[in-house]
């Protein structure tokens, strides 16, 4: 663990040490609960069935649940039933409106010259449709978004851009930031330079013929074009074709029929384990319920919802926690974080104590991060010690939170990141292969154990999570 050596850290450490004596009685009580929770966390490591039941259930009984569609609604109804059956209270669907795009049912790419061969392709979110007979044009090969940015004027006129990258697996998923722009901005840049369509190498690290879809954006004033992802094997095949074509033009026919549905309804599902002191700001546990249309969303993010819910139930099993634990199963994450925005807008005036999200698969948690190491070192260290036995390292990296906890960033409150091993994550992310069988039950249970330990401490912590200060006056939100 690397510790910052600034003056403010030292000051924070003194404050944290001083505060230890002040609330000894409260800590003793919390400590007792924490021990019970610890035993339950240890048991979860061996035996948890709750998270698995959630992710098995939603992937089997609902399956794909794209935001803004009937399938996502079925997912919300299913999840609310599950939460109520498991004992959550205040379970609700908080609807919001969004602009919805659907992929259609035709996605074909065929190299027509110099080597005729079908390639496996899926549209990117917000892709335009081709005409029914498809677009056929010469393909221009860019090894990176950078090369595309530097493309000379006119090169892409009437042509199809192909954008590659060199993504590699990494434990922290950091190559997504490196390779992701091929999808995030590549089609928009190509369209602004006159391309009639864009195909990209899937932003993924696997070698299966299951393209990675995902959202793409269009610059202001640029009309969306057809935009699609080739599976990695197909992209590499296309690249070999360029090498073997020896300068002959490579042409491709692309057929896609996605369409925009206009405004439809999505929603956030919420539920609570009500605490002994409901006037204290709650602990918010988040994940997202929606998936892309092409998979039942096991890793992304059925598992995350299962982990968060299991942790809440495990903490409750140790006795009613001091604070309310609130679950947020966000809607419409994949297509632009609409649920996160809607939740923050709806609840901005209700302070939360701390938020954490699970949305990086189901492999083991290996690192604990908070944004209160300096503000509340005692609590940070307490949490770090409690998860060390599950193989989780402490860290001085400042937690920034998952996509669905905008509210924590908007309220500038405490955030915890329980970093999962993402080595396999981009093998599966946004592909048809994101199915239940990919989840390793033992690693899923480790997630539940770690979350249980962490949430047990947070939900029984009487002081401010962010600062360690004695509990602030609780705003009377009922008066609003």
């Amino acid at each position: 663990m690397t510790l910052p050596s600034t003056r403010s850290t030292a000051a924070a450490f003194l404050i944290a040490t001083a505060s230890l004596g002040f609330s000894a009685t409260v800590f003793a009580q919390a400590g007792q609960d924490a021990r019970n929770v610890e035993q339950i966390a240890d048991g979860a490591l061996q035996n948890d069935r709750i998270a698995w039941d959630f992710v098995e259930g939603i992937t089997t009984e609902v399956g794909p649940r794209q935001a803004g569609t009937e399938a996502e609604l079925r997912g919300r109804l299913w999840a609310m039933d599950w939460l109520r059956e498991r004992g959550f209270t205040n379970v609700a669907d908080e609807p919001f409106e969004m602009e919805t795009w659907v992929p259609g049912d035709v996605a074909r790419a065929r190299v027509t010259a110099p080597f005729a061969q079908d390639l496996v392709v899926l549209p990117l979110g917000t892709s335009a449709a081709t005409s029914e007979s498809g677009i056929e044009a010469e393909v221009v090969y860019f090894r990176s978004v950078e090369d595309l940015r530097n493309a000379p004027e006119g090169l892409l006129d009437g042509r199809i851009a192909y954008i590659s990258h060199e993504m590699r697996p990494s434990m922290d998923g950091s190559h997504y930031g490196f390779a992701g722009p091929a999808r995030w901005v590549g089609p928009g840049i190509a369209a602004s330079k006159g391309a009639v369509a864009t195909v990209i190498k899937s932003v993924g690290t696997d070698y299966h013929r299951n393209p990675h879809t995902g959202g793409t954006g269009w610059p202001e004033g640029v009309e969306p074009t057809p935009a699609a992802a080739l599976s990695v094997p197909d992209a590499e095949n296309l690249e070999r074709m360029f090498a073997r074509a020896e300068g002959q033009p490579v042409t491709m026919r692309l057929e896609l029929n996605p369409r925009r549905l206009g405004t439809t309804t999505s929603g956030n599902v919420v539920g609570e384990i009500v605490g002994r002191n409901p006037s204290l700001p709650p602990v918010l546990l988040a994940c997202h319920l929606d998936s892309w249309w092409n998979s039942p969303g096991a890793f992304d993010d059925g598992a995350g919802c299962g982990i968060a819910a299991a942790a809440a139930l495990n903490v409750a099993e140790a006795g009613q926690p001091l604070r309310t634990i609130r679950i947020l199963f966000a809607g419409a994450e994949e297509v632009g974080l609409y649920g996160s925005v809607a939740y923050s807008e709806a609840h901005i005036d209700e302070p939360i104590a701390v938020a954490l999200e699970s949305d990086f698969g189901a492999d083991r948690i290996w690192r604990f991060e908070s944004n209160f190491l300096e503000g509340n070192r005692d609590l940070h260290e307490r949490i770090a010690r409690s998860v060390a036995r599950f193989g989780v390292a402490n860290s001085a990296i400042v937690a920034t939170g998952g996509a669905d906890i905008n509210i924590a960033r908007d309220q500038q409150t405490a955030i915890i990141d329980l970093q999962q091993d993402g080595t396999r994550y981009f093998d599966l992310h946004h592909t048809p292969d994101d199915t239940l069988d990919k989840i390793d039950p033992a690693q899923l249970r480790q997630n539940v154990a770690v979350w249980t330990a962490v949430v047990g401490i947070l939900a029984n912590e009487p002081r401010s999570i962010k600062t360690g200060a004695p509990v602030p006056s609780v705003p009377d939100t009922s008066a609003r």
Copy 2:
């Protein structure tokens, strides 16, 4: 190695020992060639590029090449060009006619109740089409073909049969025989019992959403029905639906539009390294050139053709071999071994000395088998010694040969099996995932090294491969 201890073995051993002195001069010369071939085989282990060039070329420049279609013809033309460029002589396309079925472009399955969800499916070869709007019916779940066989009269009337199995990976692929009947005979049995369609769990060992297609058969007098394979993750999802449906009917809608083209042309590609004594029966090296429509056929069987061709070229590099080496790139293997039958019919009166085939992927060879351990123990042991350095074990198992060397079985001549590690084979077999990236270049080179060593011995062996007897009189086939 297990040795049979029968009298005939002992007798064969004496004959083999006796024959050693007789042909000492010939052996010395062959021994010299064999040393050169051995050096080339050792070099191939480190550096072979020929097999890779073939399989990269055909997967990139041709891609899928289903038997009887225009794509297979392009494959034959491509392969003939490649063989000629590499120095093979007597390169030819030996056409034959066949009944051709094509898969169409619609393959959809959707569970409609009690849990609505699309499943990933591909038709099986010879599947009938559904009506355009599809078939919707209740699904009856059979855990095995055996359970299907035992299904009571009337149970399947108007229903869809779903057939599962428990296939596991194995080095020798032996679970294919165990699980394969789900595909080979399952749909026919279900149709004969009144099922309107059959879906099976893919006969495969992977967990990707790429179904394993393959041929299925129909009993005499039974009209083909729609028949399709779910990917393994989708099949397991369907099985979980049955478990969670708690007795409610599970219904599925299936849409498939395959069709029969009638009689079309396929063909076998042949080529030769002509030996110093062309009147001696040749060594036949086989593979198949066709693939299913859904993959470029890298493992199955582009690699096999690359290995066989590379071995022939490597042996030729050591000097003109005594015997002619003939390459057979068979057509229409996948759809019913038409090429193998046609080749044997066309060439039954031209004796071959020995045949071997590569058609089990591109992973390392681990075991050597022949059908002449008893008939020609000296040669068997010589080959076994020559491949031991590549990690290939000797075996007393009697080789039976690959699918495309019917001629060797029909002529009852010598056969060698160079068994490959098939642990990964049924992850890829007949799926879209059978792409170039699956080939491990190091293991592919080991195949080439082993084949080079073996073919080098065989092509320079003056005695009968099968019996070790002095060379028989060579039939004058030109007089026929």
